[in-house]
Structures are given as structure tokens and as C-alpha cells.
């Protein structure tokens, strides 16, 4: 019953859309990286995101909260995301296996969890511990 109700809910289909879009993003990034170097790819990638930001801005009637901390964290977020995206383009361009690179880089919550414990004093759950064990196993396998 729960599964059926999930299929009828909007959030489920938005989640499916998210999965499809992000898979498409990874595959197209790989296909573009055959010819275009990582730096040029990241330059284009950043500017292509601007129209989406403008649509969101228009949706908010061009009004944003004036919260210095929030703005600082978000911009820092963008700068680090950009460095990460560049590194992802560079990883794809090395001709490494796309499935492997995508799976490895998707494990970034590993670092987030460790930082959340250190900075936000959040607690490590049993599921997190199990996740860390699987991540370690994946890293050992890929290092062969």
C-alpha cells in the first residue's frame, strides 16, 4: 500500500526526474569530455547554469533574503561545487570507466558525514557506520 501511494505522490516523480536528470548530466559530461578539456567544460557549465538561476530569481520576483551568512555559505558552496565539477570533467577525460567514476564521486556524503560530526556535532548512526564500511570496501576494490 505504501509503495502504491508513493507512486501516486508528486514527490516520488520529482525524485525520478532528479535521478534521470543527474544520470543524463553525468553521461553528457562524459560525452563532451572526449573533445573538450576540463577547464573549458567547467567554464561553459557555469554559464549554462545562469538561465536556470534567472528563472528561479524571476519566480521569487527578484527578491532574495538579505542574510549575510546565508549568502556567504551559498557562494562558497558554488565555488567549491565548481572546483568539484572541474575535477569531475578531468576525471572523465582520463578515459577512466564512467560507471566507476560516477559511483566513486557520488560517495561525497562520506566527507559530509565526517564533517557534520566534527563541525555540527551530529551523531554517527549505525547506518552511517555501515555506509562507511561499504565505502571503504569500494575504495579498496578500486585501488587495485
Amino acid at each position: 500500500m505504501t509503495e502504491l501511494s508513493a507512486l501516486k505522490s508528486k514527490w516520488f516523480w520529482y525524485s525520478v526526474l532528479c535521478i534521470v536528470c543527474w544520470a543524463g548530466w553525468a553521461l553528457l559530461a562524459k560525452m563532451g569530455s572526449y573533445e573538450i578539456p576540463a577547464e573549458a567544460s567547467q567554464f561553459l557549465f557555469a554559464w549554462a547554469a545562469v538561465p536556470v538561476a534567472l528563472v528561479l530569481l524571476a519566480g521569487r520576483r527578484f527578491k532574495l533574503e538579505k542574510n549575510g551568512k546565508g549568502i556567504f555559505y551559498s557562494i562558497a558552496n558554488g565555488v567549491l561545487s565548481a572546483v568539484g565539477s572541474w575535477a569531475l570533467f578531468a576525471a572523465y577525460r582520463t578515459n577512466g570507466n564512467t560507471s566507476v567514476i560516477t559511483a566513486v564521486t557520488a560517495m561525497y556524503p562520506l566527507i559530509s558525514v565526517v564533517l557534520a560530526i566534527a563541525v555540527l556535532r551530529e551523531r554517527l548512526t549505525k547506518l552511517h557506520l555501515l555506509g562507511l564500511a561499504f565505502a571503504t570496501a569500494a575504495f579498496i576494490i578500486f585501488s587495485f
Binding site: 505522490s9 514527490w11 516520488f12 520529482y14 525524485s15 526526474l17 535521478i19 536528470c21 543524463g24 553525468a26 559530461a29 560525452m31 563532451g32 573538450i36 567544460s41 567547467q42 567554464f43 561553459l44 557549465f45 549554462a48 547554469a49 536556470v52 528561479l56 521569487r60 532574495l64 533574503e65 542574510n67 546565508g70 555559505y73 551559498s74 557562494i75 558552496n77 558554488g78 565555488v79 567549491l80 561545487s81 565548481a82 568539484g84 572541474w86 578531468a90 576525471a91 582520463t94 564512467t98 560507471s99 559511483a103 564521486t105 557520488a106 560517495m107 556524503p109 566527507i111 559530509s112 565526517v114 557534520a116 555540527l120 555501515l130 555506509g131 562507511l132 570496501a137 576494490i141 578500486f142
Partner: protein
Amino acid sequence: MHLAPWFWYSAIVLVTWGIVGLLQKLSTNEVSAESALIWLVVGFVVLTPVFYRGKAMFSYSALSLTYIVASSVLNAVGSWALLAAMKHGGKAAIIVPLTALYPLLVTLAAPFLLHESITPLEGIGVGCALIAVVLLST
């Protein structure tokens, strides 16, 4: 132990996006998710002079340029869909691990679209990574 070049670039992705995961939480504690996404794009653009490599950048084939631009749009639409899923009553504890499964779709599509295959050992590694992603996202 020799590690392939892709591994080192992937380590940069892990560290930078790992910090991003923390900053996302800190930023959305202060501003709305949409505002956070808009300022994130500002941060994206701020760094573009570092990546600019002159006019030669625009001499690549139209097809490759389309791939990169489309990948950016899909990435942004995917982020928007994630926010929309949460806005429409979905629980973050379900949505975040669910959407973290996108590498599975990549693994399924790669043989057809990219003509790549993975060895059984790599397959086990991908499986472990996917389980880790889901568990760590809860």
C-alpha cells in the same frame, strides 16, 4: 600501489562536494533553498575567469559544446526537481538516498551510450559504492 589518474581527480570531487554537503545545510539554515541555489550559481560564475582559456574554447564541435551545455541544464533541473520533491511533501530521509541512486542509471546506460563495460570486480565496487551512498545519505 599505483592509483589511476581518475582516482586523484575523483578524490578532489569527494572532498570539495563533501564540504558542499555541509555548506548546503548551513546555507539553507539561513536562506531558502531557491536563494541558496541562485547564490550557488553566483559562486559558480565567480570562478569562471580561472577556467577561461581564450577564444579557442569556442572552436570545439557544436555537438560537444551541446553535450556540456545540456549537462549543465540537466544538473540544474535535477537540483530543482530535488527541491520540488521535498516541497511536495516527500521526506528528505527518503528522497536524498533515493536520488543518490543516479549512478545506477549511469551504470545501466553506459554500455549502450558509451560502449563501456565493467569488470566483475569493478561491478562489485560500484555495488558497494551505491550501497554506501544510500546509507550515508540517510
